[in-house]
Amino acid sequence: MIPFDYQRAASAAEATGLARDGATFIAGGTNLLDLMKLEVMAPSRLVDINRLDLGGIEDTTGGGLRIGALVRNSDLAGDPRVRSSYPVLARALLAGASGQLRNKATTGGNLLQRTRCYYFYDTAMPCNKREPGSGCQAIGGATRLHAIFGTSDHCIATHPSDMAVAMRALDASIEIEDSAGNRRSVAISEFYRLPGTTPHIETVLKPGELITAVLLPPPGGTRQAYRKVRDRASYAFALVSVAGVVEMADGRMKRVALAFGGVGPQPWRNAEVEALLEGKAPSAELFEQAAGLLVAKARTQAGNAFKVPLLQRVLSATLNELTKG
């Protein structure tokens, strides 16, 4: 960990003002400090935003929720409104990390988690995300954790969050404030960038911009499920996960939102799959067709090819669960 200048901000304006060259915000710090100890990340200044007033969960006038960026994962999962109206989000949060980490990790920080790619974590390895232009050692290496969608020849890393997968299925938007105090809202679908030739740039956040909240639209009368598949029973990152939100009407799927974790550089969605399903009556054949469509463009490595059949099966099972009865 390199020496850094530590600043505790009292307001968003102060925080964004302090966040100049080489500075990073620190909230929970559960991923940032992990990476700083390894010097995978080496900010010259830490702006501690924990004292900012961003820890609340409020109802929005539109019937949704506004989740402050500093709301801890455990508080968000425990919130009665989240538990009853956004169970996919509560389930995703509870499937992630450990009790201790959820007490510390924040909503904003969770969105910005870095990949768990082994090669990103080892500073002796080339990694375009950590050191642009150095190459990708994961390609051709150990790839159990790696992506099958949205990859490039420069990076095949996954986004490790469970929470963000649920938020993607819920069509969340992310509220951002810049140093001039301007606020903008970015749909989660627009928030993350694909790796392309610049895998080190992961989101549309500009330097100094601060996530202040996540906005959830009203849940509607939807059925929700989050299913996570992992190597051990708890405290492990997803091999694949599916967040599903389905609204049924007259025995048909009126609206379908499906997001996938463990398979892409960002929480993954596939509009074609949803379009195929919407308006149709659930059936095993249809689900199989949807699953086939989902993986049609998968690009695999030796170590993650199993994710193709696995994802198809998990998608079918999740759709089945969401539409039965």
């Binding site: 455990s74 425990g78 009853s84 169970p87 510390k104 029973a233």
Partner: protein
């Protein structure tokens, strides 16, 4: 970097490198060595302490971020001749072997019981809205952030059940 915080009920003034984690501040600066460093990356739980009543991994927090916070470590939960209910239950159920992960396990369990009392659901709760039960499955899931290579897990679960029963009266 100066930081004032309360540890086990005592006001403490730290003057440490900003890079000092809460874990190293406790162990090296305050000489409270009960809290252990098993991985230093939030992957084992040996460093679990209570901050303002909540369990966290002290290795993934900087001491300077805890200005004004109330910290409780294993040393604050009991003493060898005055053990807390959980400590006593860990002892009588052999909820440890080498003992290295044990302070973290006990701090974690202490806060975990409060989380259940507060009605927080877990990954294995069938119903997110109902008060969770204190079943073995619930305890195991909630204690999965504390790794024990000796694998006292079955005994840890039994110890927690017994202490929880006593707590409920």
């Amino acid at each position: 970097m100066k930081t004032e915080l309360t540890v086990n009920g005592r006001r403490e003034r730290l003057d440490a490198d900003a890079r000092t984690t809460l874990l190293d501040a406790l162990r090296v600066h305050l000489e409270l060595t009960g809290t252990k460093k098993g991985c230093d990356h939030g992957q084992c739980g040996a460093c679990t302490v209570l901050v303002n009543g909540r369990r966290i991994n002290s290795c993934l927090s900087l001491a300077c971020m805890h200005e004004g916070d109330e910290i409780v470590t294993i040393e604050g939960l009991g003493e060898p001749d005055r053990l807390s209910d959980l400590q006593q239950a860990f002892l009588s159920h052999d909820g440890f072997q080498c003992g290295f992960c044990t302070p973290g396990q006990i701090c974690s369990a202490t806060a975990m019981l409060s989380e259940i009392e507060a009605g927080w659901p877990s990954h294995v709760s069938d119903d997110l809205d109902r008060t969770p039960e204190l079943s073995s499955t619930e305890i195991s899931e909630r204690m999965s952030g504390n790794i024990c290579r000796c694998s006292a897990y079955p005994n840890i679960v039994e110890a927690i059940k017994e202490a929880a029963d006593r707590r409920r009266g």
